[in-house]
């Protein structure tokens, strides 16, 4: 989860996030100040691999050491938290790392979700389609969800070389070359090639 950003189409410059939420404190464990962390990273243990974690407002920084695992949660010791009361007080705290602390993706065609979200999607002629709101993978490859489209619906775009030929993170945009029917896929009045009949 990234920090709350204004991704509305009216916001011309949705900056990439400076910090990324990698975990949240779910509660206390035991009486010696251990906390249960709910990790949001792809590999759960990586939530502490990118350096010290900070609170949402950035006012506190914690050095975190993993101590074990309980079900889907990680047990961790946070610097300065020595008893259960202090650990309980942190319940619900979201923990962030700087975006710059994440290693650059290894492959050319790999992008962090956090970098893609907020990009402006436009056609090759410069027409703005919307803004990337989320990235999903339903099993058929990654899919970008665009919001702020002209008809007000969200639009799903397969994240492939053919359909998204250019991703320009530095300038905050990506180019979409949609196949016929993709832009009006949600339109109930759009006709299929057999006249819209399914029976």
């Amino acid at each position: 989860m990234t920090e709350q950003r204004d991704l509305s189409p009216s916001n011309p410059a949705a900056e990439p996030p400076a910090r990324i939420c990698v975990a949240a404190v779910a509660g206390a464990h035991g009486v010696k100040g251990l906390v249960r962390l709910k990790p949001f990273t792809e590999v759960p243990e990586d939530c502490v691999a990118y350096g010290p974690l900070s609170s949402a407002d950035g006012s506190r920084t914690y050095a975190v050491k993993l101590m074990g695992q309980v079900k889907a949660m990680l047990l961790a010791r946070m610097e300065g938290v020595t008893d259960r009361n202090q650990a309980e007080a942190l319940r619900g705290t979201r923990l962030y790392v700087d975006r710059a602390a994440l290693p650059e993706p290894e492959a050319d065609d790999e992008f962090y979700h956090a970098d893609l979200i907020g990009l402006s999607a436009m056609l090759q002629d410069g027409t703005v389609l919307g803004r990337v709101q989320a990235v999903y993978d339903f099993g058929a490859g990654d899919t970008l969800e665009l919001t702020g489209t002209a008809d007000g619906n969200t639009l799903l775009v397969p994240f492939t070389q053919a359909i998204v030929p250019k991703v320009d993170i530095a300038n905050g945009r990506l180019i979409v070359d949609p196949p016929k029917g993709l832009l009006d896929i949600a339109d109930p009045n759009s006709k299929d090639q057999d006249g819209g009949s399914e029976t």
Partner: protein, 92 residues
């Protein structure tokens, strides 16, 4: 021989016709379908389907690994969107 083998994979007839028409025309277009129960056949590879999930059409670009599965498997009806954190997307 198992019944499922001699009977062959199930595909709704109209979807087969649509896919054949699209492939023969050579046009790159999204084929909207409500037939989540249809099996993905080898001749669908390379085509893009919009598979209805009860709410919207999820674009599914068919590749070799999907053959034998049903369309509905790639268009979930309930989703937990999760957190992005350090997750990466790969452009195929």
């Amino acid at each position: 021989m198992a019944r499922s083998v001699w009977k062959g994979p199930f595909v709704d007839g109209y979807l087969l016709k649509k896919a054949d028409a699209s492939r023969e025309s050579g046009r790159n277009e999204v084929i909207r379908t409500w037939s989540r129960r249809s099996t993905i056949l080898p001749q669908f590879v390379g085509l893009t389907f919009g598979v209805y999930n009860g709410h919207k059409f999820i674009p599914v670009q068919v590749n070799e690994q999907m053959v034998g599965h049903k369309f509905g498997e790639f268009s979930p009806t309930r989703t937990f969107f999760g957190h992005e954190a350090d997750k990466k997307a790969r452009r195929r």
